[in-house]
Structure formats: C-alpha cells, structure tokens
C-alpha cells in the first residue's frame, strides 16, 4: 500500500509538470488552431535560464528561497520573450496560409531552437543545482513523498488557481475566451486579436518555463534535448484531455503522469513510454476529440 501511494504521488508530480507544459499547447491551439511544436523548446529554454540564473545567484551566496523565486521569474520572463518572438517571426506571417504551413514552420522553429541551445551550451547533461531543500517536517513521510514533489505540487496548484482567475475574471481572459470561440466575432466586438494571441503565447511560455525549472531541480540535470520528449508527452496529455480545453489538458496530464508512474513501478521503467503512447493511440481510436474536448468538424 505504501508503495502504491508513493507511485501515486510520483505520478502526480509528473502530471503537474506535464500540465504546466500542456496548458501552453492547448491554449495556443484553442486560440489559433496551431500545434506549436516549438513549445517543448520554450520549456527547455526556461530550464536553461533558471540554470544560469541559479548558478550565478548561488555563487553570489543568495539564500535558497530567493534563488528559487528569482530563477523562476527570470525563466518565465525570458521564455515568454522567446514565445512572443517565435509567434511574431514564425506564425504571424502565416496566419492566413494553409494550415500545414505554420505547422511546418513550428517544427522548423523547434529544430532551430534545439540546435541554437546545443551550440550555445553543450550536448552534455549539466548538473542542475538543487533548489529545493529536504524539509525537516517532511522526514516522517519522505519514503512516500519527497520535498521536491511537494513543492512541485504546490507550485502547480498555485499557478493553476492564478490561471483560472485570469481566464475567468479578467478583461484579457474574457478576450481570450471570445477569441477562442469565434475569432472573427472577437474582432467585431473590438478585441485586438493580435494582442490576445501574443498574450496567449506569453502565458503559455511562462507556465512551461516554471515547469522547466521545477523538473530540472527535481531530476538534477538538463541538456538541450529535454524539451523534445517532455514536449511530446505534454502534447499527448493535451490531446488525451481534448486539445483546446484547459481543464482537459490538466486532466490528461494527470492521467498520463499516473499511468507512467504505475507502469514504471509495477512493470518496468523501460515500458514507461510504451504505456504513455499506447494510451494516446487508444484515445485517438475511441475518442478522437479527447476526454473533455468537443467533437468539431475540421475547419479548412
């Protein structure tokens, strides 16, 4: 039983990270109908930014909490700048092009950013500083849930609450919902749709960057390629929950995280990806619109 609970929390931790990335996929898809394949790289850049900031700050002797907060903010800001720029450079000029064009542009951006980080850094894994200490009060249950799991879960929960508030109750959230439902009509009620799209990329990138920081300090190492597999997994989670749906992305992420955790724990860690992607195939066969997605007719 204890093993089961341990796996359960490990699954929730994975699910949280997937959720932070999957939200960016699903929000961008909801607004402009594009699968932003460069999103995994935005997450990777977030991890690298927090790596650089955290390393510098720890040399300067900052306290751990300050390093954590400053690194998270820096990663969010820097990744957002990348997300914003990628949209302006690679997607906006193709806004009215056939659907395949921005998709190919997105794949190109993904490869470009990977190689850019590869050249700017190295292809080796780099040790990531431990930003989350072992809390004393967690010691009695350390076998079931680690301190970094707790921090990841709590941070994700706070981020989700803020995001929900933003989308439900603010002016920009209102504009985002309207744009997602009917872009032409959003323009006709006076919403600046370009602005909404930029904000969506910025929010999605910031969430991914926070995910990057959390997982890097949890796993303890990063390299230029981490965005690829995490991106694919989070994309799977978004499709699982119903791409375009925000609650769907969160639900899909937790299901995927738990599936992987139990597959690793009870079968073998070699089969982790097999289970994850089998789940995707099953969903695509039996419920193509995802768990919470609406069946829609493909718009051409």
């Amino acid at each position: 039983m204890e093993y089961f609970i341990e796996l359960f929390f490990s699954g929730l931790t994975r699910g949280s990270i997937y959720a932070l990335i999957a939200l960016g996929y699903t929000m961008v898809y909801g607004i402009i109908g594009l699968i932003n394949f460069a999103h995994g790289e935005i997450y990777m850049i977030g991890a690298f930014t927090s790596f650089i900031v955290a390393t510098v700050l720890s040399i300067l002797g900052f306290p751990l909490l300050a390093i954590f907060v400053i690194a998270a903010l820096a990663a969010a800001v820097w990744s957002s700048a990348y997300g914003f720029t990628v949209e302006k450079l690679a997607y906006k000029p193709l806004r009215n092009a056939p659907r395949l064009s921005p998709l190919i542009s997105a794949i190109g951006m993904s490869i470009f950013l990977q190689n850019y980080v590869l050249l700017a850094q190295t292809s080796d894994f780099m040790p990531f500083p431990q930003l989350i200490p072992e809390f004393g009060f967690m010691e009695p249950i350390a076998g079931i849930i680690g301190s970094s799991d707790l921090v990841i879960l709590l941070t994700t929960a706070v981020v989700m609450v803020i995001l929900t508030w933003l989308i439900k109750f603010t002016r920009i959230g209102k504009a985002m919902r309207a744009t997602a439902q009917d872009r032409t009509m959003a323009m006709l009620v006076g919403i600046n749709v370009n602005h909404v799209i930029s904000v969506t990329f910025i929010i999605g990138s910031a969430l991914a960057a926070i995910g990057g920081l959390l997982i890097a300090s949890h796993v303890g190492q990063i390299n230029f390629f981490i965005g690829f597999i995490a991106g694919i997994k989070a994309f799977t989670a978004a499709v699982l929950g119903g791409i375009g749906s925000i609650p769907g992305a969160v639900l899909g992420s937790f299901i995927l995280g738990l599936t992987e955790a139990f597959a690793t724990g009870y079968v073998s860690s070699d089969y982790e990806d097999v289970f994850a992607f089998s789940l995707l195939v099953l969903i695509l066969i039996f419920r193509p619109s995802g768990l919470l997605g609406k069946a829609t007719i493909e718009k051409v």
Partner: protein, 235 residues
C-alpha cells in the same frame, strides 16, 4: 458619414469587389442588395477592417479608416452584426451582451443599457443565463443585434438579418431595425438578399452584381424599377 471610394477587395486571390463607391449619410437606412456571392458580405468586412481593401479609400466622418485594425474601427463607432450571427456559443446570453460592450469602461451606463436591451427584448431577459448556442435562430439574431447595440454604435452594419428566419420573425427583426434607427438615431447599413423587405425598410439602395455597383437610387424608385423587379423581387 461613411464613404467608400473605388474600393477593391480580394478574398484570397479572387477579386471580390471592383471599384466599389458608395455613401451613407447620417441618420439614414441604406441597403445593399444583390445575389449570393455578389460581394455584399465582403463589402461589410472591408468596412470593418476584417478584409482590408487592397486599394481605394474608406472614410468615416471624413477620416480614412481603411488601414485601421478591426478593433480601432469598432472604437470609432462602427459595429457589425455579421452573417450567420456569430453568437459566442459557450457564453451565456448575458455574457454575449457584455462582450458587445468590450471597449466600454462606463460600467454604470453599461448596466442601464443592458436593462434597456432587456425591455426591448424581454425574451433575452428570460434566457439571460442560458448559453447563447441554445437559442433559436430568431432569438440569436435578436441577441446579435443587441450585442452590437451594447457598443453604442453610430453606424450599424447588418449582414442578412433575415437569413434562415420565419417570415413572422423576420418582420419583428425589421421592425426593431426601424426602431433602432428612429429611437437611437443610429445610421444603418443593411445588406440583404430579401430585396423586397430591404427596399421597403431603407431610404436608399445600392445594387451589387458580381462585385460591382450597378445601380443606386431611392429605395422606392428601385422597388418600382422593372429590371430590379425581374431580377430581385420575383415580380
């Protein structure tokens, strides 16, 4: 109030509007009639900035607006009720109306206007908490017009308000359009396939054929014009 000067617009690579020139004076109802695919909706989308013209000028109160983005054009007081109504399906009736007032900040006045809308359309008041997608066609058209009114437009562009509606409902909608014009002093640019009804409602009319204006006159003259009767009125 609004003037189009030899506007050319494209739909993808296809030229949809050829040298369109027309004028709308303050306070009047003008109508643009024409067959399916003549370019009526493209004309409205060009005015709203959703399909910006490739050449030509659009002036609102003497100022060029053809290079402005749609949200800036709405801010000037030009609102469109597009063809097919475009109700936000997941938002409730009240939220749809609130969305119409997106650019306004005068919350107290917005509340008063909302009450006015509900007295104008008691049906909407009863359904204010239902998703817009659940309404019938006629109710959606009322909602779409009301949503545009929430922006306090000076010029209201209406695209095919009668589309898909029963004759009785169509009558109601057209009565409301007249009422908006007289009571609110809103200038109205009406695009319709139902030429008979449109010409009876409007002060002046333009006839659009395959992207070109072929005729314009007082609405009553167009109604009695033999060519128009043959082509559009089925007489």
């Amino acid at each position: 109030m609004l003037e189009l000067r030899s506007v050319n617009s494209y739909y993808g690579n296809i030229q949809a509007l050829h040298d369109i020139s027309l004028k709308v004076e303050e306070g009047e109802i003008i109508t643009l009639i024409g067959a399916n695919g003549a370019g009526k909706s493209t004309t409205l989308m060009s005015i709203s900035g959703v399909i910006p013209p490739r050449s030509g000028e659009i002036l609102f109160k003497g100022k060029p607006i053809h290079q402005m983005s749609p949200d800036k054009i709405v801010a000037l007081g030009i609102c469109q009720v597009p063809e097919g109504r475009h109700i936000f399906p997941v938002l409730t009736v009240a939220e749809n109306l609130d969305m119409g007032a997106f650019l306004r900040r005068d919350n107290r006045q917005i509340k008063q206007d909302l009450e006015y809308i509900y007295t104008l359309f008691p049906l909407l008041a009863n359904r204010r908490n239902q998703p817009g997608g659940n309404l019938s066609g006629g109710e959606q058209q009322m909602l779409a017009i009301s949503r545009a009114l929430m922006a306090k437009p000076q010029l209201l562009l209406l695209d095919e308000p009668s589309m898909g509606l029963a004759p009785l409902v169509t009558r109601q909608i057209f009565d409301i359009i007249k009422k908006i014009n007289t009571e609110q002093n809103t200038t109205i640019f009406l695009v319709e396939q139902n030429a008979n009804l449109a010409l009876k409602t409007a002060d002046r009319g333009y006839v659009l054929e395959t992207g070109r204006i072929t005729m314009h006159d007082k609405a009553e003259n167009l109604l009695s014009n033999e060519d128009i009767q043959k082509a559009y009125l089925g007489i």
